[in-house]
């Protein structure tokens, strides 16, 4: 959510803040939920009568608390505001985690080709190409590489083209018990031709 907007809605009632500890907790919660730096002036609008000096004091205490309790994140001043960020030393881990998260990325054309293989299997490359109307070699190769599609033998007769079929990983990816669990064409119509009930 990069497009978080700072929308100050002043008529929303919030409970009064009575002491520095409460103020610090509120500041922490707001910082935590924000995706962009927040300025002292923006913080100030949260409280009825707090000076920017008082607010800064509490922010500095938060910063010290994170430091003392060895948190993996820190409070930094950036772009005329404050923000909570992870320490740079954890970057390789976060990077690794996100990279690991890269799911099989199926482009719209890959999905199309995969749907054809799933429903028409075993099927040759040229049959897929014929249905899609465009050369599908690279997209089929990429599906084989991603282990969604496998080579399932050769077509008898002249040419002996390779036959393609789906894999167990395909079933797993789409949560299907077996191929017979693929919805029929009528069921597809039923599922996709909805009238919006709202």
């Amino acid at each position: 959510m990069s497009d978080t907007q700072f929308q100050l809605v002043m008529d929303v009632a919030s409970p009064p803040v009575h002491n520095p500890d409460e103020m610090r907790s509120v500041l922490e919660a707001v910082l935590f939920a924000a995706s962009e730096p927040i300025s002292l002036e923006q913080f100030q609008q949260l409280f009825d009568d707090a000076s920017t000096w008082q607010i800064r004091q509490q922010l500095m205490q938060l910063r010290d608390e994170y430091h003392e309790t060895n948190r993996s994140f820190q409070l930094i001043e950036i772009a005329n505001g404050f923000q909570i960020c992870t320490h740079a030393e954890y970057h390789p881990w976060i990077q690794k985690f996100h990279t690991r998260q890269i799911r099989v990325k199926l482009s719209a054309s890959a999905l199309e080709a995969l749907a054809i293989v799933a429903y028409k299997q075993p099927v040759t490359r040229s049959e897929v190409e014929e249905i899609r109307g465009v050369n599908s070699d690279s997209v089929l190769n990429s599906l084989i590489e991603k282990r969604m599609v496998r080579i399932a033998g050769r077509k008898p007769g002249p040419g002996r083209s390779l036959l393609l079929a789906t894999t167990d990983e395909f079933l797993e990816q789409f949560g299907l018990k077996d191929l017979s669990a693929l919805p029929s064409l009528e069921e597809i119509e039923e599922i996709l031709n909805r009238e919006d009930p709202e």
């Binding site: 939920a33 924000a34 995706s35 976060i94 482009s107 054809i116 799933a118 465009v134 919805p183």
Partner: protein, 252 residues
């Protein structure tokens, strides 16, 4: 909802009915509402009373020109039948096999109420959970930008793709019947698209297929787009499910 313009609205119909009408999810919901309004127990309904009020509702729905779903009419028939059974003790057992008996209706109402309550509870859960905030960060920030279509593909996506293909085939069939259009080649269209993208412009995928374009033009545009993507000269980007797909020129 449209206001009741008819002057023939029966006196027995209270105005509150009109406000409540559009919120009934089905005949069971309406029946449950009547039972609660009359402070009856589900297991001890006065069929005669409930049937009368139920019919008043249907009457009102018709007066207001509301679409009365067939399920509401089926329930009316069931209620009338149960009522007639009370007045005239059953003489012919065969006659009632298409209708539910009272016990069955009570069981259905009890079960329905259970899930209606569960739905209300789920709503409380959602409302509670709405008050907590996770980190609202852009998950792609600070991670290598792969600039590929990142679809978390599910069965639903696969189905949509398949339906799309079948529709395309259909479209192509139509086209062959009327070939008198002026020919635009896929190559020409590719060149045209690349020129548009050259300026750094992003093109929304569906905007390519303006309703004024001929069928042939739309097919050629579609093929040209696919070809440009295949040749990796253009990339299609979608930020989430059901978001618009944009075409962007790939960096050389």
């Amino acid at each position: 909802m449209r206001p009741a313009t008819s002057t023939t609205t029966p006196q027995s119909v209270k105005p509150i009915y009109a406000i409540k009408l559009d919120v009934f999810e089905g005949p069971l919901d309406l029946l449950l509402h009547l039972i609660q309004q009359n402070e009856m127990a589900i297991t001890d309904i006065s069929i005669a009373e409930v049937t009368e009020q139920y019919l008043e509702y249907l009457n009102l729905m018709e007066l207001l020109d509301l679409d009365v779903a067939s399920e509401f009419l089926v329930m009316a028939a069931t209620l009338l039948h149960l009522k007639s059974q009370i007045i005239l003790p059953t003489k012919d057992a065969d006659d009632s096999y298409t209708f539910r008996d009272r016990e069955e209706l009570v069981q259905q109402l009890l079960e329905y109420k259970q899930f209606k309550d569960a739905a209300t509870t789920l709503e409380y859960y959602a409302t509670d959970h709405e008050k907590v905030y996770g980190r609202s960060i852009d998950p792609t920030a600070d991670v290598e930008d792969t600039r590929e279509v990142q679809i978390k593909a599910t069965l639903f996506d696969l189905l949509s793709a398949f339906k799309y293909i079948t529709e395309q085939e259909f479209l192509a069939d139509d086209y062959y019947e009327e070939i008198q259009e002026e020919p635009v080649t896929v190559e020409e269209k590719m060149e045209f698209l690349e020129q548009r993208l050259e300026s750094g412009e992003q093109i929304r995928f569906d905007e390519l297929f303006s309703e004024f374009a001929s069928k042939l033009d739309r097919i050629v545009t579609f093929l040209a787009t696919l070809e440009l993507i295949r040749l990796e000269r253009v990339v299609a980007v979608q930020s989430g499910h059901f978001d618009s797909i944009y075409l962007i020129k790939r960096d050389p």
